[in-house]
Symmetry: C2
Subunit: 143 residues, 2 copies
Amino acid sequence: MSGRERWALVLQQHQIKPSYPRLRIYTYLVMSRTHPTADEIYMALIHDMPTLSKMTVYNTLKILVEKGLARLISIEEHEARYDANISLHGHFKCTVCDRVYDFPISEHNVQVQGLDGFQITERDLFLRGICPECTQSSTAATP
Amino acid sequence: MSGRERWALVLQQHQIKPSYPRLRIYTYLVMSRTHPTADEIYMALIHDMPTLSKMTVYNTLKILVEKGLARLISIEEHEARYDANISLHGHFKCTVCDRVYDFPISEHNVQVQGLDGFQITERDLFLRGICPECTQSSTAATP
DNA sequence: TTCTCTGCAAACGCTTTGCACGGAT
DNA sequence: ATCCGTGCAAAGCGTTTGCAGAGAA
């Protein structure tokens, strides 16, 4: 089974009709490790699919989130990023280069007191700061 | 010392000129426990201050965040919420009533592995789900 | 006077809405 | 023939920008 077929099956299993645009968008999201925005996905696919509309990207991403195949990362307001990795993990955003990194977390990171009676459906641990690469280039630039 | 004077002093200590609009905005943010948006702050103050502009609210909030007197909560994209409580704590957002609750967290909640070399400046633990109040009303409505 | 703050108006960018075409069943 | 997905155009909303007038030092 090819990669494309495999993801088509995943879509079907989640009650999403695997149309060509949807399949391409989902496959791109799965492959990419950069937590792309809707616009970045659109820009990456428009070369291959000249008729693709940004609308379809928005629609598809919305469906993927609803069906639990993707997560919406709102680590920074005004930019909605998406992640097809739906397992428990944290996100670090570099405030210099704007890249978003994954890092492993465990249950005890998100185990909290004082929320008795609250039904928790989503957990996000967001860190912000400067990544090693940007730290290095800034110290190098300041001799 | 009145409450107003006290917050004026805090502003001064953070190199923010305590103009009347700034003082009112900051005082409102400190008193409110609802993590208001810029628009909510504007709506709350416009009755008392008919000449207040939304611009001034945006400007003031930006300065407060820069100077470390407030935190920007991006628990939900497309709405920027602000919190004058800058101590370590988590946020829970009810997806039904949209309220944002505080809850206590400790250092071990945000202690993570795999980020050696990363300079961390901000930590956010966001939970989403349904609050007790909304859970109760929804079960009551489903007999 | 000089500098900063305020606040109007307009622009901006991302996202949503309304609707019509087209392809699949 | 019907239904659903696609995608154009336009509107919507929160936020930012440019600038001018007012006020404090």
